[in-house]
């Protein structure tokens, strides 16, 4: 029992912290949001530290296989921790204005969502996966709804919850079918055996259909076509902090879970040969199935890339623009996953990290400008680049990274994606991805154009005169990370190891 608890120390600490936060809420009557915020940030720091310890240990199952503690999960758990921290951070700045109340709950919900994310990406058990997804989802629904006290916030919350519940319902139906396929087991490894059996018996469709239904939940979280509809409306309707959290935190853990699911369920279907010589006869059938299924994913990816990037053109609301662009980026990620091999998973994980850094930075920078300009419509941002050099300058850098321009990490990430796609014999997808980068430049640079190239007659008198030193510090850190990460070698080894874990047992 003790070792079990040891294994899930980060989750435990997070849960404990949650309870403390709730207590604090009761004691302080919501008046000490700043202090509790700092506490929450510190808690996340401790959790991050504990997560880092996971890289030292060997992968292990915990709690009777409900949880899987391994490097791969830790990578994405760290990323959602970081996203939560940034979201809290932005939130704190927001919350320094007295008219806002009810803030400790927000912190609580962020932490709960993060815990859900931990479970989502840290399990090989489909029901736990569903529970984690719902935890993350329910907290996000609440967050999306509550924070903005206007119609837009309510509408965003409504859309998010209806759409989220629908897609998780569809996913659950898929899970229930896979449960049957795996001989009444939720364990992915059991399901993989069932999948192989079915494939060998020529029932490819019976594997395919539940898998597609299962995908629904992931597609929803990743905002991929055809489950992307919520993203622009919700991002626009909520606050920047939550939008950033949705765009990075929940997206990345969902990505991790998707990779894990695909890698495990189709492990033998795609590359189980090395691990189990007995399954060699499966190989032909399985690789055929893998190719077809990969093609389906590739098409989804292509449509998402195109959809997100094209629809982002002409957006003037910053968060809406970022929402569409995040649809496009999810498409890039899925493109790489669609290879269904270690290379593809690795590339997707790499790009996810790189995307996460730039995207969080972008949301923070958008916040920093918007909170002072009083608008998130880029048409109101004319010439502000000169007035807020740090925020605007770092926004340029993050956008450059999202476009994939050197010397930013986005370039190296995109390089990784292209290399995986090309090596995986999908040159068309590689070319499409490359060309869509040009399209993405179209809308990203529209913002930059507004910030720098338009001239403003008189300086804006900021609605919030207060400086945002902490945020500025974060922006600097994110900028440095965006540039430094061009050397992907820094994150390569753990990621390689992590995805290797997945695909080779």
């Amino acid at each position: 029992m003790n070792e079990q608890l040891q294994l899930i120390l980060p989750e435990l600490v997070l849960s404990g912290g949650l309870c403390l936060l709730l207590l604090a809420d009761l004691v302080f009557q919501r008046r000490r949001a700043w202090e509790t915020g700092v506490f929450a940030l510190g808690l996340l720091g401790v959790v991050a530290y504990l997560l880092l310890q996971r890289f030292e240990a060997a992968p292990a199952d915990a709690f009777g296989g409900l949880l899987r503690v391994d490097h791969f999960g830790a990578v994405f758990q760290l990323s959602i921790t970081a996203a939560a921290a940034v979201a809290l951070f932005i939130n704190l700045h927001q919350f320094r204005y007295p008219q806002d109340r009810g803030r400790i709950e927000t912190q609580f919900l962020f932490l709960c969502a993060t815990l859900g994310g931990f479970v989502l990406v840290g399990t090989q058990h489909l029901l736990m996966l569903y529970l984690g997804l719902e935890m993350l989802g329910l907290c996000s629904y609440a967050l999306a709804d509550v924070h903005k006290r206007d119609r837009a916030g309510a509408e965003a919350g409504m859309k998010y919850v209806v759409y989220g519940a629908l897609s998780s319902g569809i996913m659950l139906y898929g899970i229930s079918l896979l449960f049957g396929l795996g001989g009444a087991s939720f364990q992915m490894t059991d399901i993989a055996l069932g999948v192989n059996r079915a494939l060998l018996e020529g029932h490819a469709v019976q594997v395919l259909l539940p898998t597609l239904l299962l995908l629904a939940g992931f597609l929803f979280k990743l905002a991929l076509v055809p489950f992307h509809w919520w993203a622009p409306d919700v991002y626009q309707g909520t606050t920047t902090a939550i939008a950033g959290y949705l765009a990075v935190g929940s997206k990345l853990v969902a990505l991790g879970a998707l990779i894990r699911t695909l890698a495990l369920i189709f492990a033998t279907a795609v590359h189980g040969i090395e691990s189990d010589p007995a399954l060699i006869e499966v190989t032909t059938v399985a690789s055929e199935f893998g190719a077809s299924f990969g093609l389906v994913l590739a098409i989804l990816a292509a449509v998402s890339m195109v959809w997100g990037n094209l629809a982002a053109i002409g957006q003037t609301h910053l968060r809406r623009l970022l929402a569409y662009s995040s649809i496009g980026h999810a498409g890039y990620l899925l493109a790489s996953i669609s290879l269904l091999n270690a290379d593809g998973f690795h590339a997707a994980s790499t790009y996810a990290i790189v995307y996460g850094v730039a995207s969080l930075g972008a949301f923070a920078a958008v916040f920093a400008i918007a909170v002072r300009a009083g608008s998130e419509d880029l048409r109101d941002w004319s010439g502000l680049g000169w007035q807020y050099p740090l925020a605007a300058g770092s926004l340029v850098l993050f956008f450059a990274s999202l476009i994939g321009l050197p010397p930013t990490a986005g370039f190296a990430g995109k390089w990784r994606l292209l290399a995986a796609l090309w090596a995986g014999d999908r040159p068309g997808l590689a070319l499409l991805l490359a060309l869509l980068s040009v399209v993405s430049l179209f809308y990203y640079f529209r913002v930059i154009k507004e910030l720098y190239l338009e001239r403003r007659e008189e300086a804006l008198s900021p609605r919030v005169s207060r400086k945002l030193p902490w945020l500025a510090g974060f922006l600097v850190v994110a900028c440095v990370a965006t540039i430094a990460l061009i050397n992907l070698g820094w994150i390569d080894a753990p990621l390689r190891l992590a995805t290797g874990d997945l695909t080779h047992g």
Binding site: A400, L405, P406, A419, W422, P427, V438, L441, I486
Partner: protein
Amino acid sequence: MGEHLLSAFVALPFVSALFVALLPKQSAAGQRFVAGTTMAAALAFLIGLVLGGFDTARGGLQFAESTAWIPSFHVNWALGLDGLALVLLLLSALIHFIAVIATPRDIAGSKGYYALLLLLFGGVNGVFLATDLFLFYVFWELMLIPMYFLIGIWGGEQRKRAAGKFILFTLFGSVLMLVGLVAVYLRSGAEGVAPTFDIYALQSQAASWMTDSGGMFGMDFSSWIFLLFFLAFAVKIPVVPFHTWLPDAHVQAPTPVSVILAGVLLKLGAYGMLRVAFPFAPDAFADLAWLVATLGVINIVYGAWVALAQTDFKRLVAYSSISHMGFFLLGMAGVAVAADGAAHFEAGTRFNALAGASLQLITHGISAALMFLLVGAVYDRAHHRDLGRMGGLGRVMPRYFAIATVGFFSSLGLPLLAGFVPEALTLFGAWPAWPMHVVVTAFGLMLTAVYLLQAYRSVLLGRTPDACASFRDLDRRELSTMVPLVIASVTLGVAPFLVLDLMAETLRTILAGLPPDILPATSIEITEGLR
């Protein structure tokens, strides 16, 4: 220090840019001084290398250095200098230095301006020196954003559109290059060896790709590589029909930026072709040389013809740039194919073609920069660029008249001025393989004379409109930007060996890396057809 000489050289502008960024906002003069000094120091350093240190008898890399940078992709921080790069670096340093001087002292937001200029300079230097393809690409893209802002912030009325167009076009080319990068990198590791980004290692591998049938969409691998890289660089050169960003960018950019754009940036596309596109796919290059030649001729003739109809002085010069860069392509097509030597004297045709193509980069850099300075000088006085509303400036501005004469006629290809040498070399070199193309090119030369003289006449000769009568002649600052270019133009025209001595061996090395297709000497057939 010794073995990191080039690193220091590449780092210099970036350090200066940082320094400029840290200077107080008000000290425009200080920022200008730092920028100017940096360029001058770079120029002095290069001249020092020419005078001693650089061994012109060697065709390969000198001062090469390499340090691991991103080991997981086998990316190295690898720099190296050869004759071609040295000459282009000299050009770039000179042009950038001139651009700093040509910048008005009271330019708004000077801090950002000079910092961006320095970043641009650093990027250019990096591209010329990088011997690692990944690094090459990084520097290549690094120039993008400074240029965007330089045009977009300090440009004319339509600057936003022009800047956007510039960056979209350029990025379009870049992403194709990126895909090409991926392809060659993966290919280089296909035979069980570690993949590499080393440009020269890739070049030497490229020979084995020729027989590679592992292509996609019905094209062999070599053709894929060639098309990807060729298109990537074609946008920068620019090759018709990817050229329409150039006139807009030129017209909107402030004079110093136009000078850099025409003087240096266009050359990068050509440099990329010489270093990457052609040597990586020598086979496809030889197969598709007809395309290169045809595009070159289209550039020359079409560019000239469009220039003929322009009424905007700067647009005209921009199209003349397009036209002139066609010679590079034509020359390269001459390199790709050697005519059968049976009937013809093997007159070093391919060397002529290559020397013409590469020298064109230098001479066009000089004359185009000069032309844009001349345009800028008129614009500063007249505040418009409409050729129809100018005239007789030769009367009111005698110094301008003298310098403009050199500029126009150098551009036109008058012997004893820089423009002639590469044109003649290119024609000599391309003739045996592409006689029909050369004939059409000759027609383009005619058109060049037509539009340039028309412009010359409208600007300098004829009646002086009242609005132009009070123009002051060139002042000392303007003279100091133009006179070096005039001297360079004349010197190169009279004694091209001053430049070719530096790169002759390098060119020979490049030639060795581009084995030609042996074609029957078509020029003979053509001439027989003519009778």
